[in-house]
């Protein structure tokens, strides 16, 4: 197999997949976000949809359209990992760490080699990027965390984490958009609704957005959520250009 990246491969009958890396890699993910933003800003004729994931960009085209050559030209035009990030949002999503809201915080902190207070200080101040949205609509995979957070997934699954759970593993945070079983460890709880079909912006987050999870008390989390009629759990955001 060819091991030079990026690679363009067919995906089904009406899409191409541009893969920037075979492994999780910050530069490759930045390239995905930048390349997709460029395709959205200046569309290639015949392309109907683009999307970026952890390490690839999907390009779906109309039946019969021929977009491969144009895509190769665009891809080769520059080093996409060095392109400045496109306009994005910086979200601050309140999170209640530990206790009943983060039942595995102690375990995760121990595995990362720090005490609980240091773990909360680290997780509540780190500014992470949305690497991809998936699993459930609008559900973010965020990173890339420092190497101490390269925790393996649990071999036995947690039967259920609630919607809004903040979980950690493999140098990433995930904010659960649904209640589901998981091998990731729950360190906190937010009241952020990843997907609300009736909202003006049903899915508020986008790949490339930046997020911090400031620590709040369990009571403050719930009060903030109560007061937020958009279902963002008291989160705020500002635009970054």
């Amino acid at each position: 197999m060819d091991d030079t990246f990026p690679q363009i491969e067919p995906l089904g009958e009406a899409a191409l997949l541009v893969r920037f890396a075979p492994r999780l890699d910050d530069a490759a993910n930045r390239a995905c976000v930048a390349f997709r933003a460029a395709l959205e800003a200046e569309p290639v004729a015949g392309v109907e949809e683009t999307a970026s994931s952890l390490g690839s960009v999907l390009v779906r085209f109309a039946p019969g359209a021929e977009v491969g050559e144009a895509l190769r030209d665009r891809l080769g035009a520059r080093d996409w990992s060095a392109v400045p990030p496109p306009p994005r949002r910086w979200w601050r999503i309140p999170c209640s760490y530990g206790g009943e809201d983060g039942p595995q915080l102690e375990e995760a902190a121990r595995m990362a080699g720090m005490d609980v207070a240091d773990a909360v200080a680290a997780l509540s101040s780190v500014r992470v990027r949305i690497l991809a949205l998936g699993f459930a609509p609008g559900m973010p995979y965020l990173g890339i965390l420092p190497d101490v957070w390269n925790l393996p997934r649990q071999t036995g699954l947690t039967p259920k984490v609630p919607e809004g759970a903040l979980v950690v593993a493999v140098r990433q945070l995930v904010l659960f958009g649904t209640s589901a079983p998981t091998g990731w460890r729950q360190v906190g709880l937010t009241a952020f609704g990843c997907f609300r079909p009736g909202r003006d912006r049903p899915i508020a987050l986008s790949p490339g957005d930046e997020v911090t999870f400031p620590a709040v008390s369990p009571a403050a989390l719930r009060e903030g959520a109560e007061a937020d009629d958009q279902g963002h759990g008291g989160a705020t955001w500002e635009r970054l250009e």
């Binding site: 197999m1 491969e9 067919p10 995906l11 089904g12 009958e13 009406a14 899409a15 997949l17 893969r19 890396a21 075979p22 492994r23 999780l24 997709r36 109907e48 949809e49 683009t50 999307a51 970026s52 994931s53 952890l54 390490g55 690839s56 999907l58 779906r60 039946p63 991809a132 949205l133 998936g134 699993f135 459930a136 609509p137 609008g138 559900m139 995979y141 958009g177 649904t178 997907f195 079909p197 009736g198 049903p202 899915i203 987050l205 986008s206 790949p207």
Partner: protein, 322 residues
């Protein structure tokens, strides 16, 4: 207005779904059998959003006359006590009860009315996407608005796709991770559609070992499309459906071509399924033409009459028959 008088589980409103949200983790969704949607559109002109029925009984009461198309998995259909041919459209008078019962052929049946049901639009589509939390299954007492319509009964020529068979597949970016011998065994294996299956995906069973890639690969999660044949950790394949997740880390050994995806989704539990790799050109050449529609002779209730009528002359769906 149409009232749901009685309704089995997981009966939903579906249309062509809501494309364009893969970047945000929302699959397109929409009718599990896209061909049935094309057939309804050919029968009615404009079929809009219709009712998808996964092997469940359904009784509707119409308060206004409507042209009603019945497509997809054949059901036993009656209106006001009169039997209705399947793969056909019929003018149904007001105050008639339409009753549908499963026959065990196929999985997903469709009832459309000309112009479609006027239910709530969410993100550009009326389709329920239950896994994502959009919409609800229909329940008795629900009232569905639609425009009144009338016309002549019509029938459509349909290729059988309701009992499994051969599914043509294209390679995926992960196909080459499987050893050649495993690919050959995959093509030589007869699978059975498991009882476990829904709009997210259909589980297959097989005699013998599951299928695994070489080595213990920790694959980076990547895009999934409906039709992908995903090998889970224990090597059991799932064919992914319209409500599949948008990305995943299990390898996909192949992806069912668009022409055969209706056959994959319509295979009833126990049906035999096999896979055959084809090229992209073959996949594109296999796309079916528009369905062909013919008038249905009034009062024809029997299969014999139906066949005689079809032989009499099939006309293009684009042509006028009225």
């Amino acid at each position: 207005m149409t009232t749901v008088v009685a309704c089995g589980p997981l009966v939903t409103i579906q249309d062509a779904g809501r494309p364009g949200h893969l970047a945000r983790g929302l699959a397109r969704g929409g009718a599990a059998d896209r061909r049935a949607l094309d057939e309804a559109a050919a029968l009615l002109g404009d079929c809009g959003a219709g009712i998808e029925i996964p092997g469940a009984p359904l009784t509707l009461r119409l308060s206004a006359p409507a042209m009603v198309a019945l497509t997809g998995a054949p059901m036993r259909a009656e209106a006001g006590g009169r039997a209705l041919d399947w793969h056909a459209a019929h003018p149904i008078p007001a105050e008639a009860d339409v009753t549908l019962r499963p026959t065990g052929q196929g999985v997903y049946s469709y009832l459309h009315m000309r112009g479609g049901f006027d239910t709530e639009v969410v993100m550009g589509s009326r389709a329920a996407h239950l896994i994502a939390g959009i919409g609800q299954p229909l329940a008795s007492g629900d009232r569905l608005a639609h425009a009144p319509s009338d016309g002549d009964a019509r029938v459509i020529a349909v290729a059988d796709r309701f009992d499994g068979g051969v599914l043509r597949v294209l390679p995926t970016p992960q196909t080459a991770l499987f050893p050649e011998a495993e690919i050959a065994r995959f093509e030589a294996t007869t699978f059975r559609r498991d009882t476990r299956g829904n709009r997210q995906g259909v589980r297959l069973t097989l005699d013998g070992d599951g299928f695994a890639t070489e080595g213990q690969l920790d694959l980076l999660s990547d895009f999934i499309l409906p039709g992908d044949v995903q090998m889970t950790g224990d090597g059991v394949p799932y064919i992914l459906g319209p409500e599949c997740q948008t990305t995943g880390g299990y390898p996909r050994i192949g992806t069912v071509i668009e022409a055969d995806l209706p056959r994959a989704m319509q295979a009833p539990p126990g049906a035999a399924l096999r896979f055959r790799f084809v090229t992209l050109d073959e996949a594109r050449a296999a796309r079916p033409r528009l369905p062909e529609v013919a008038p249905l002779v009034r009062h024809a209730g029997t299969a014999e009459l139906l066949r005689a009528n079809l032989i009499g002359g099939v006309i293009s769906a684009k042509g006028e028959t009225e």
